[in-house]
Amino acid sequence: MSGFEVSRNDYDHISVLYLSGFLDAHTAPKFEDGLQKLIKEERVKIIVNLKNLDYISSAGLGVFMGFIEEIREKGGDIKLSNLSPKVFKVFDLLGFPALYEIYEDEIQAKTKYSETK
């Protein structure tokens, strides 16, 4: 058991990945696979909902870094939502809020996509 799950919901032109559990160097490849699949399917308007994510290390943050340029070049984005204070702190320590849009909830992130459709 890895203690980490990725699930996905597609809404019109937006895809949401839901991460739960512990995202570290062991589980990061699972998240990578999820993003890679979306890119392959050309579904690049992505929201990553972190409501049930209990833990993230730099290996998990590296996955966000590794794909963002390709996704933005394809006209998409990765927007983040529902970060717990603990997970937000790690993003914040590494300066992520300057590079990624972070929303309180998924609806706000979806609205942002709709405005820029």
Partner: protein, 146 residues
């Protein structure tokens, strides 16, 4: 001056990423026992995760037959974690502070962990002797509770 009583714990485990969760739990438990509040115990176990991840990836190149030694020593004033490996050492002191925009551009992922370790802990020190013994020691003081 009365000498502070020190508590020492040691584990040795195979150099595999699926041990990271166990290592975090071990260190977190001892940090709480040492008197750190939950949030700071989380920071300590994250720093240790980052250090072990670096050993697994860079020093041992994912060779699961290699072992990692982890020692935790605490007293009333501080907790110290020492991580020892015998792998191919790499000198993180040579790494620049990561430039995130450059990282995005080059899709590079390394270096973030070391930056986190330095930010989360009060002291981070390395000693290198590749193939013989490489060590990273990290200290956090208890009375610096935010």
């Amino acid at each position: 001056m009365k000498k502070l009583r020190k508590y020492r714990y040691k584990i040795r485990f195979p150099s595999r990423t699926d041990n990271l969760e166990m290592v975090r739990d071990f260190v977190h438990g001892l940090a709480v026992k040492a008197g750190f509040v939950e949030e700071r115990a989380d920071q300590i176990s994250l720093a240790v995760d980052e250090a072990c991840t670096n050993v697994i990836k860079h020093a041992h190149k994912f060779n699961a037959r290699r072992m990692i030694d982890l020692a935790v020593i605490y007293d009333k004033s501080q907790i110290e974690i020492i991580i020892t490996d015998k792998g191919k050492g790499f000198d993180p002191r040579k790494l620049q502070k990561p430039d995130l925009s450059k990282y995005i551009h080059e899709a590079k992922m390394g270096g973030l962990g070391i930056h986190l370790m330095k930010t989360l802990m009060d002291e981070v020190n390395y000693t290198f002797n590749p193939g013989v013994k490489n060590q990273v020691s990290m200290v956090k003081y208890i009375n610096h509770q935010q």
